[in-house]
Symmetry: C2
């Protein structure tokens, strides 16, 4: 084992400085009420620096009964959305001296991951892309939790305004004159998707536009899902003229299906995504979308979590909701003039 062999302990520093070990600890923690002789402090600090003493955070954790680590649980990285969220989260956590324990669903399920995190005395958990409501009630007991992209009365949360995203999508497409609109999205319990759909449907209804059942297509929140779903839509006798997708991956899959079928965007069909991941600018035409600040979500989630850890939970859990932003690129446009076929 190469590990943990000759690590320098506070006791070692104490020995060399000719003081007791607790004194070293007292000085090193810079405790305000540490009333130590200046020359002692000097000497201890010098020696500690010389021999490169670094406190064992595990030992600190044991006595402090907290680990200075947080867990982040995500469904998977196939969706770059979570990669970005994670990136923002890691940055803030690292700067604050917290470690990020990464948990991806798949090998272990959420509950197992939560248990593993508990066993490590995790200080808090961030849940992204996983519906807290599908978990057993006790699963999150006694944990500091921040939810991403799902409002909750029980837990703190930060997310984009999914309902509004749906509304904006509807407004954008209606504004182009579309009246036969479709939606592609998962039937999953993930709140963000449900709210996007609901916002979209409500806005359509408010505008007096109805969406027949055949135009709501269920699909995995993935490229493959979007592709399959769009194929179904294209096979319809009467196609939609515009499609809002639950997220960009789905939209990109739909985009691809159109390319394969020779359907020209946005002339024959408009496609609108949601999230604004990098891939959106890769395709031709580039994908219009409703942008969510992904890294910012991760960053804020951690800040919220750290505050909760350090100040204790609030009576009423804070909920930050960030405004979505419409990004018009090339995949959406006005409805084609009938009969003006090229």
């Amino acid at each position: 084992m190469r590990i943990g062999k000759g690590r320098i302990t506070a006791a070692e520093v104490a020995r060399r400085a000719g003081v007791s070990q607790p004194t070293v600890s007292l000085i090193l923690t810079r405790n305000p009420k540490a009333r130590v002789a200046p020359e002692t402090r000097e000497r201890v600090l010098r020696i500690a620096a010389e021999i490169g003493y670094r406190p064992n955070r595990l030992a600190q954790a044991l006595v402090a009964r907290r680990s200075f680590a947080i867990g982040v649980i995500v469904p998977g990285f196939d969706n770059p959305f979570y990669a970005r969220v994670l990136s923002g989260a890691e940055k803030v956590a690292a700067e604050a001296g917290y470690a990020v324990l990464l948990c991806e669903m798949g090998a272990l399920d959420v509950l197992q991951h939560l248990n593993a995190l508990r066993d490590r005395q995790i200080d808090g958990v961030i849940l992204a892309g996983i519906a807290a409501s599908t978990l057993p009630a006790a699963a999150l007991d006694d944990l500091n939790v921040v939810l991403i992209n799902q409002p909750s009365t029980r837990f703190a949360s930060v997310g984009g305004d999914s309902l509004k995203a749906g509304t904006m999508a509807a407004a954008h497409l209606l504004g182009f004159g579309h009246r036969r609109l479709a939606f592609i999205g998962p039937a999953s319990s993930i709140p963000a998707f449900r709210f996007r759909e609901r916002g979209f449907v409500q806005a359509l209804r408010a505008a007096g536009v109805s969406m027949p059942g055949e135009l709501v297509v269920r699909a995995d929140a993935s490229i493959a899902g979007g592709l399959a779903a769009m194929r179904r839509l294209l096979a319809l006798r009467e196609r939609p003229t515009a499609v809002f997708c639950a997220n960009d991956l789905v939209a990109l899959g739909a985009h691809k299906a159109c390319g394969a079928a020779g359907v020209l965007l946005p002339r024959d069909l408009s496609i609108l995504g949601c999230d604004d991941i990098e891939m959106t600018t890769l395709v031709t035409p580039e994908l219009s979308t409703i942008a969510l600040p992904q890294r910012e979500l991760g960053a804020r989630a951690v800040r919220l979590l750290l505050r909760q850890i350090e100040e204790g939970p609030r009576e009423t859990p804070p909920a930050q909701v960030l405004p979505p932003r419409l990004v018009v690129r090339g995949s959406t446009g006005p409805v084609a003039i009938p009969g003006a076929a090229s």
Copy 2:
């Protein structure tokens, strides 16, 4: 604080079972040489299960002098490549009961991250996309290390055969009749990129094809980098007929530049990437590439690391190299017949 309040300890189990705490420990660790009365074991196990006892892994770590956690350090998630590697790594680690501490470069540099990991008594570290040779010699001392995609005499490593990837790229493009070939890649010290370039150049040279300096373009290993680089190539008096890119992101950027410039792939130009990330199938035509098994790299890296942790380092560090695989899609093709312009 919601944390660590009423956690059940082994002592508590012992009290209820009417045995001593070490006995509980003895039974729970399922130590082979634990010769305990069957009924005692029975009772302890039952009570432990009843009150939901779970050992504190931090305390275990303290005495075991290891944390059952590994660190993974990556440059960033902007490149889905690392997301996939991470995904593979996390899966194996989680199944083995190890935690994954995620470190992204940026907020903290590698050295700071390494220190933070050391302080947490990390059992080992996986380095991806970061040249170990650029680190101070002592930075990785006394650590179990596995490098991804960079061979090393000092550390264990797992990676694709980058040199061969370059060779295969050359063979593929030469096979289509291309003789004016370009390379786009970073000037970075990341070994994988250097080897891909070297393999490519060497294979060309071996085939008697030279690559003038103007056809080797330096660019960030990103979409933006590839885009800018391809613009430069397209501005050349005499354009290349085929381009090999250091990775898929660069290739996608190049792909995009061609789309914008009206250069038709693969008729006017062939583009070949490397890695095989999901995005490659999103563009039209889909990107041909040299595939590397990304999740597998992550998974193997962890397995190698765990073995090293559990069995101690080998005299000669193991190096697994996985064969790259050519994936021909639509972005590469035969050189256009001169004069046969459409």
